[in-house]
Amino acid sequence: MSSGSQVVDHSALKVNQTGIVVTVLVAFFGSVLYRPLLVLIPLLAIVLLLGTFAPQLALFKQLYFQVLKPRGIVKPRPVQDRPEPHNFAQGLGGVFLVVSSAFLIPLPVIGLALALLVAVLAFVNLAFGYCLGCQIFFQLEKRGFVRA
């Protein structure tokens, strides 16, 4: 286990979670009136997975680092933390959205429910600081399935 001496800007994580919640909600409720908006769900899956493996491609985090932070719209909140659990949680969200996207056409109820679950979990993290993906990461790490 690493010592946990790295610094993570939690404002970037919050912007990322806000982006996930807003995108899923726009796709979910927007698709009632305009069905093609459902395409936002696979797009969000791509954004999350790209951001997991190449942080410079993480759309919402880049929005924070390139626009919101330099203009003082969102204040930085550096916290001594490990980035790996948060990256894992983001990747897990991306995988769930890939599965959700696969179900959107044949079984829209399952597809929409999975996407909404991702949004609910992102909201729980945003509002209450509870990160289910991080908990899964810690459990897997404790059992030796993943290594930071």
Partner: protein, 136 residues
Amino acid sequence: MSAQLWALAVVGAVVLAAAGLETFRAWRARSLSTGATSSPAGDPYIVYFTGESCTVCRTHQEPALARLEGVRIDKVDAVAERELADRYHVYTLPTTVVIGRDGVAAHVNYGYAPSPKLERQLADARRAGLQSAATA
């Protein structure tokens, strides 16, 4: 629209089931926990389970515990003290356990517990202790 409504119902059911499971787990942990960590005759105190990689512990739980004045807090590393953590079914960090005057767990909180909630639980534990002393 019907797909959206069904999806909302499914997610609502999942969230309700998770909340119910969490409530049951907390209730079961409270009813199963019979061991005290120390000083059974003293004032109620808190056993605070934390871990090296717990962010919420540092950013939320520890400031909340610091706001409790004059309360004994036993900080426990949940990974190092596995046996004690298992006794209270600690699978989420932070977890806080309010131990009553009789040394038995009065309340178990899985996840972040704000200071007003902990104060309420400590007051409950004090009242329960006084009642049992009066009836003894």
